[in-house]
């Protein structure tokens, strides 16, 4: 666009046309011609004049006393040529009978005017064309300069964008590597969890079943004991009754009978809890799910919290503000990892008095899960970097800086977004947004 304007400008500048037609008046001026005419008069002519091609006098000069002297009729010199064309002639008047002398003056005057015309024309042509050329060359130089500047800018931009591209690719590769690492870790954790779960499930099965059987047997023992007691109480023989009661007291059977049911129930409860933990672990690892399943994310959050129970500092308060969520088609294991990483991150934010609020809601056609803690928040300068792989503020050995990078990767892979920020109260907040449609 710019260059087009420029070339238009130089085209416009080419106003001067080589070859334009000129008249005598365009080429010579009165100030140049009058001295020549005066010279002719000084040489002896009464009057001298310069006329154009039509014979019209352009300039003339006469001796002061020319009028009194009368003199000859006008004598016309040869044609004055401009670019080879006759454009006028000189007229000379003088003494009667001196025609030859006057003719000589006319010829000389004509030669002088011709010389003047010729050199003026050359000067005009060269000066004008020179000015045009200089202006135009200047325009062209300007344009060359502009083009050079533009191409320099383009190369600079290329070089810069190349650097950015390299950085982008490097970051992508880093992320991909991190993701691979994490997936492998996830897979091995999952396998381990599944293996342990299987191993625990088997003994837990018969332990539970045996406890149930034992509960039944115990009931029989208790019943038998009661029966024996009642029987002894009604039987004759003071001494036997006394011995029975003494033994009963010695064995503290009143207390045992009162406690035994509770014990067995508690054991059963414990076994149930072991079963649940194993199930949670299996569920969390989603070792059985291949590909996507439809999950209830509230339940997945609970499952994650159950697995995390020992990571959560004592006295910490977990506030669950769950909204009603539709089933979400996803790789649930990966999302559990996301929740786990965010919650673990929050747990490290503060030791005593930690409070984590987990809020879920359906907003438009996306599920929004917000995690807010009451820790110190994220320093402003770290905000743009928290999702970078290997970015960590913790001392070496206490985390690789992979947790939030995996969060970012998994959420992005689910077509969602995750934002890190600080809540108005000061703690860190992570908002995961998962669109229902794209999952």
């Amino acid at each position: 666009m710019e260059s087009r304007q420029t070339s238009n400008a130089s085209a416009n500048r080419l106003q001067f046309l080589v070859g334009e037609e000129r008249g005598l008046r365009d080429v010579i001026s009165e100030a140049e011609v009058l001295p020549l005419l005066r010279g002719a008069v000084r040489a002896g002519a009464f009057a001298a004049a310069l006329a154009d091609a039509e014979g019209k006098v352009l300039w003339s000069h006469a001796a002061p006393d020319a009028g009194e002297q009368g003199g000859s009729a006008g004598l016309r010199g040869p044609a004055i040529l401009l670019e080879g064309e006759p454009v006028g002639s000189v007229l000379v008047k003088g003494e009667q009978g001196r025609e030859e002398f006057l003719k000589g003056i006319a010829v000389m005057l004509t030669a002088a005017v011709n010389l003047l015309v010729g050199s003026n024309l050359k000067r005009m042509l060269t000066t004008e064309i020179h000015t045009t050329v200089v202006n135009q060359s200047y325009e062209e130089l300007l344009e060359t300069n502009r083009k050079l500047a533009a191409s320099e800018a383009r190369y600079r931009e290329l070089a810069e964008s190349l650097e950015i591209k390299v950085e982008e690719r490097t970051a992508e590769l880093k992320k991909a590597l991190a993701r691979l690492l994490q997936q492998e870790k996830l897979a091995s954790v999952g396998q381990l969890a599944a293996g342990i779960a299987h191993e625990i499930n088997n003994p837990m099965g018969f332990v539970t079943s045996n406890i149930h059987t034992m509960q039944k047997y115990l009931a029989r023992f208790v019943e038998m004991l009661q029966f024996s007691r009642d029987l002894v109480a009604g039987a004759p023989g003071e001494a036997e009754r006394e011995r029975f009661a003494g033994k009963w007291r010695q064995l503290k059977l009143d207390m045992v009978l009162a406690d035994v049911d509770e014990l067995v129930s508690q054991s059963l409860g414990g076994a149930e809890r072991v079963k649940k933990i194993v199930a949670d672990l299996k569920g969390f690892s989603h070792i059985d799910d291949l590909g996507e399943t439809v999950a209830d994310l509230n339940a997945e959050l609970d499952r994650t919290l159950a697995v995390l129970v020992h990571e959560i500092p004592p006295g910490a308060e977990i506030v669950r503000e769950y909204g009603t969520l539709p089933g979400f088609s996803c790789r649930a294991g990966e999302l559990c990892q996301v929740f786990l990483n965010i919650i673990v991150n929050a747990c490290q934010a503060r030791n005593a008095g930690l409070r984590i609020v987990i809020r879920t809601e359906l907003s438009g056609d996306a599920i929004v899960i917000a995690f807010t803690d009451n820790g110190p928040g994220i320093p402003q300068e770290f905000l743009p970097r928290v999702f970078e792989p290997f970015f960590t503020t913790r001392p070496v050995g206490q985390g690789m800086g992979m947790g939030l990078a995996v969060v970012y990767d998994v959420v992005t892979a689910h077509g969602g977004t995750v934002e890190a920020g600080n809540s108005p109260e000061g703690g860190a907040s992570f908002v995961v947004r998962l669109p229902l449609s794209s999952a």
Partner: protein
């Protein structure tokens, strides 16, 4: 065309000798000046030169009058061939009615010829002249020298373009008037199409050319 004034019955045409540096453009004009009789032409005006190289242009004017009274002035120009005078070439080329491209026949000059012709195409476009329509004659000059491109080679290259090609030795004076004649024929045809020189001014091509190329007896 520089000027056409129907009232004043005046027409001024411009012909341009273009070509690489030292190909003999000025020599062409000098020979035309020498060969064509004083009748109907003006003097050759050679603007300042440095080291015998044209830096502005040369001008040779011709005059003729059509039977209708139309006065026709034909100004023949050369351009400076050196690359650095491109702006001057543009200025001279403006509103040209016909162009002779004077090529240097020497084999070593082939690249310069090519470059200059490329420059001609560009500058014609710049001043708004269609190279397909402008009367154009290519003259291979310096045929008197050795190591020149053969006529077969020239025909092979230029034949397909349809551009008329002449050969000349401006230094020896042959081929110069022939080249000029060819350009005048083409120029007459182009001007006649637009200004009806024959129908309105009674000027036919043959007499147009004859009046401009009146070679004196020597």
């Amino acid at each position: 065309m520089i000027e056409y004034d129907a009232e004043q019955k005046r027409m001024v045409l411009k012909l341009v000798y273009y070509g690489p540096a030292m190909s003999g453009k000025t020599t062409n004009l000098l020979k035309l000046h020498d060969l064509i009789t004083q009748e109907g032409r003006g003097d050759l005006m050679v603007l300042d030169t440095t080291d015998d190289r044209t830096i502005f242009f040369d001008l040779l004017p011709f005059f003729l009058v059509a039977p209708s009274g139309l006065k026709i002035k034909v100004k023949v120009y050369t351009v400076p061939g050196q690359v650095r005078h491109d702006a001057t070439r543009k200025a001279v080329l403006q509103r040209a009615d016909g162009v002779v491209f004077v090529a240097d026949s020497q084999l070593a000059e082939a690249a310069n010829n090519f470059e200059s012709f490329d420059n001609l195409e560009k500058n014609l476009a710049f001043v708004g002249i269609d190279i397909e329509k402008v009367p154009l004659v290519v003259q291979f000059n310096k045929r008197d020298l050795k190591n020149v491109a053969s006529e077969e080679e020239i025909a092979r290259v230029w034949g397909p373009t349809g551009v008329p090609v002449t050969t000349a030795s401006a230094l020896e004076g042959w081929g110069v008037v022939e080249t000029f004649t060819k350009l005048l024929e083409l120029t007459y045809a182009a001007i006649d199409r637009k200004y009806r020189l024959l129908e309105e001014h009674g000027l036919d091509g043959a007499s147009f050319v004859r009046q401009m190329t009146n070679v004196g007896e020597r």
